[in-house]
């Protein structure tokens, strides 16, 4: 088993933001080539390529990318898995190496969204004559008529459900999450936004879906990230210069949501996150208290707060206390989203689940510059895509 352990050999990401002059493949190629350079290898060394993208998912993104970085005939997997798309691409390469089919592979997450506004809210013409369609026999759009299924509201409801069940959680605690992530982003030159906001500014920003104000919602944007993964066996044959910077993947877990009654009407982001975390801690032997940093899926401030509890970063039911005591700040008990998180670093959907690996690996290598968490040895990444898909990775600094 140990010989099939998988390591990150190289990692890279573009700055997240808006790139009107670059196309999707430009962004992907930039991240992919930089990751290969970082790993000290080339496309000829790759046994497998996985590309994660949502907006152009049916267009052979991986093959289009190959035409810009190298066509070598290797298997290409194009994947789409909601906001867990990037992590799913990583898992394709990881599994190929674990299975013994590949020694080295490249996973790229890439997305070009532009300034898209409220996702899912595009104008939709209702039928002129009501005719039932779909599995619910709906005669018109039910969005806003039978509650909300758009992301800010869904995650607001997830947060207020937690607030209703636990003491010490309210609008202010959720807002503090965004205050923290915006503050963290000022140290990250790769973040889409690098501007601090006071708690008052966060709370008084335009309301999107209570309790999530505009400053508590992630932006849309463009960007790409890539990692080169390698088998431990192959890593042992590489020069010390490459081995020294390699980061061990101590756990790689993916889950979907198990049946619950409420999950049928409102995606339950808790069950699958808890299960992924449980498996990841068990596989890696890492205790949450050992974590030096966590990059978790803060698509909305309400989401981050409930994941403190889901990932075991705080005592059960005490996510409000955890943020009140500044536990997830970069100088707190377990720094969370020191990159600025999705809220401020940005969330180009397909890139996110690779970019968080880049962030944690960069800290474990001691190469994170101004935002470096001192002497970081172990970190965790988490993404969740509604529908739902959840991925958790535990990364360790190790010597081989």
């Amino acid at each position: 088993m140990a010989e099939r352990d998988v390591w990150i050999l190289g990692a890279s990401m573009t700055r997240f933001g808006r790139y009107p002059d670059k196309d999707l493949i430009d962004l992907g190629a930039e991240a992919a080539l930089a990751a290969l350079d970082d790993a000290g290898v080339g496309m000829a060394d790759m046994d497998v390529l996985a590309a994660g993208n949502l907006a152009e998912a049916s267009s052979g993104v991986g093959q289009r990318l190959q035409k810009q970085i190298g066509q070598t005939g290797i298997p290409v997997y194009n994947v789409a898995n909601a906001c867990a798309t990037g992590a799913t691409a990583v898992r394709c390469v990881y599994l190929a190496i674990r299975a013994g089919e590949a020694e080295m592979g490249l996973a790229v997450g890439l997305e070009k969204m532009g300034k898209a506004g409220l996702l899912g809210a595009a104008a939709r013409a209702d039928r002129k004559v009501f005719t039932p369609s779909g599995r619910y026999g709906a005669v018109m759009s039910v969005e806003g008529r039978l509650g909300t299924t758009l992301m800010p509201g869904v995650f607001a409801q997830a947060g207020l459900e937690y607030a209703g069940q636990h003491d010490g959680v309210g609008f202010e605690q959720f807002a503090k999450v965004a205050e923290k992530n915006h503050a963290h982003s000022t140290l990250n030159p790769l973040a889409q936004y690098q501007k601090a906001f006071s708690l008052e500014e966060v709370m008084h920003a335009d309301m999107v879906a209570y309790p999530n104000t505009l400053l508590m919602c992630c932006p849309t944007g463009d960007g790409a990230a890539a990692v080169v993964l390698v088998s431990e066996e192959r890593l042992r044959t590489l020069p010390d210069e490459q081995r020294r910077r390699a980061v061990r993947i101590a756990a790689s877990v993916m889950t979907s949501d198990p049946w619950t009654e409420h999950d049928q009407v409102q995606p339950d982001v808790n069950t699958l996150t808890r299960e992924a975390a449980r498996q990841a801690y068990e596989t890696s032997g890492v205790d949450p208290r050992d974590l030096d940093l966590v990059e978790l899926h803060d698509c909305f401030a309400t989401a981050e707060l409930i994941h403190y509890d889901n990932l075991g970063l705080c005592a059960p039911g005490e996510a409000g206390k955890f943020i009140d005591e500044r536990g997830p700040w970069r100088d707190g008990a377990i720094p969370v989203n020191v990159s600025g998180g999705l809220i401020s670093k940005g969330h180009p959907l397909g890139a996110t689940g690779v970019a968080n690996l880049y962030e944690v690996a960069t800290h474990l290598r001691g190469e994170a510059g101004d935002r470096q968490i001192p002497d970081a040895k172990v970190g965790l990444t988490h993404v969740i895509g509604l529908g739902s898909a959840c991925a958790v990775h535990v990364l360790e600094r190790a010597r081989i």
Binding site: F130, G137, Y210
Partner: protein, 162 residues
């Protein structure tokens, strides 16, 4: 808040234009509007849409049954930014129905203010007209309203038109 609003009990009195439910699991045929679920014959799990097999126990046969028209708010949000054509702000809720089943809907007859909504508040099913098509047919949607009427705003009908 005196009457049940349009929908329940008043459907048959309309002379012009028909009404259709916004979704097929809203049953407007009786005196009281109600929600119908497909419930797994093996484990009892309930679904509003048709299922090929039960997501919980994999059973393959289902029977339709009405769910309770009362329940409690499990969670909520107040939506201020929405798709075009949707009036804002409005309150979205997930309701735990008495006797089992959960459903998402708008909370009606309540101020769109976090101080006016709380997790655990008792609610009841109501209906309202959500739209009219080119033939004058009205789409009737369901929602929920607070049960303990705290003399909220407005008094009379809550249909709010289309």
């Amino acid at each position: 808040m005196a009457g049940p609003g349009p929908g329940a009990g008043t459907l048959g009195s309309r002379s012009v234009g028909a009404q259709v439910p916004i979704v097929d699991y809203l049953d407007l045929d009786g005196a009281q509007a109600r929600l119908l679920a497909w419930c797994c014959d093996a484990c009892g799990a309930c679904y509003f849409d048709r299922r090929n097999a039960c997501a919980r126990c994999f059973g393959r046969s289902f029977s339709r049954r009405p769910l309770a028209t009362t329940g409690t708010v499990r969670t909520f949000t107040i939506v201020h930014r929405a798709a075009p054509g949707v009036e804002v702000p409005y309150v979205s809720v997930v309701v735990d129905l008495d006797g089992g089943g959960a459903v998402k809907a708008n909370l009606r007859d309540v101020e769109a203010d976090p101080a006016a909504v709380r997790v655990g508040m008792p609610v009841r099913l109501v209906t309202w007209v959500a739209g009219v098509d080119d033939e004058g047919t009205e789409a009737v949607a369901f929602g929920f309203a607070p049960v303990a009427d705290t003399a909220g705003a407005g008094g009379g009908g809550d249909d709010g038109g289309a």
